[in-house]
Symmetry: C2
Amino acid sequence: MLGVTTVSSTKLPMSERIERAALPLFARKGFEGTSLSKIAKCVGIKKPSLYAHFASKEDLFFAILQKVNRDYRDFLERQVQQHGDVTTEKQLYCLLKDHTTYLENEDLGLLFKRFMLFPPLVLRDTFNEQFIQSEEALTNVLLEVVQEGKRRGEIQADPDEVIDAYICLLDGTFEQLFYYSKVEHEQRLQNAWRIFWRGIHG
Amino acid sequence: MLGVTTVSSTKLPMSERIERAALPLFARKGFEGTSLSKIAKCVGIKKPSLYAHFASKEDLFFAILQKVNRDYRDFLERQVQQHGDVTTEKQLYCLLKDHTTYLENEDLGLLFKRFMLFPPLVLRDTFNEQFIQSEEALTNVLLEVVQEGKRRGEIQADPDEVIDAYICLLDGTFEQLFYYSKVEHEQRLQNAWRIFWRGIHG
DNA sequence: GTCTATACCGAGATAGAC
DNA sequence: GTCTATCTCGGTATAGAC
């Protein structure tokens, strides 16, 4: 049972307060499983007031999706700037860890992934487009890191293989966030990482 | 938009026909997104008739979940028997491929994974229990294969690391089923597999 | 076991006063 | 912009005839 968490930051514009209240609900109970009355209750307003800010439930949902996608790409950009001048091993490992932390702690991440895997059928096409943008951003980051690692001699394997294997590692460890405890997840991530690194390091 | 696919195997008992009709609907549109009227339409009966076979929507859903879990464990057992006497490399690779095929083609697999990741909150605890059983079955299979591979000298790495990395590989490739085309998925699986094998083969 | 009819509810959405 | 009141629709579920 989800408690009603009032979003109280009174300084924010109403539309933003609504989005922030709706996000965790959509993330946890899905699109069909989240009702406008519940959202309104979390914001602290009445249901019809929502329509002063969003044309429909789908409209609200889509606005949130866009924000989530942008936030993810911002996260990636921060990662690139943060870990400029270290070993390739550390770069890839830190990205894996930070990626996990990001998806673990933020409802943004939960929503992002939930609707990447199981979007409401109506919005499937529109959302796939958004997803591809984020995916490309990630691939670009990886490509740069891996090519640099290849130049430095830290990576032996073929870059395409490395990137695909790394994305698989990200997806796999992400999925496991849902059904392992924090400590068990950490353990599994470590083990999977070691095999991966041994596989590309040569 | 999902067309109405009538389940016509008249020889089956009604309860089974209902489950078979409901499964792909639950798998594709989720628990809340699937209505009893739609299910009834697919079976070719009227909505109230469902209640002669299941006490509630949740009841029907739960019956299906149990079947799905059993089917998955049966699949694993078949795998073990099928690939008894080949190289460890081939055993692990075939399991990866067959696992993918299983989850790709059967609505069973789709449902299994959807509600493993995002179960209806009410059923979370009950379902987690079921999941743990299936997860253990998989781990047992892997443990045997990996220990044998270690004895044969085909595997250099630590068995725990290998198993965790392999499950991560399974999870990652599974997740990618959702958003890559068949050919692209195949390519990515190959690449990820090669890195994995290099990482454990030594 | 299956049907028609219906109860009951909560959903998304709108009208119109303030 | 927010409210109360209300509309319409479709959901789960039940009653009771056949």
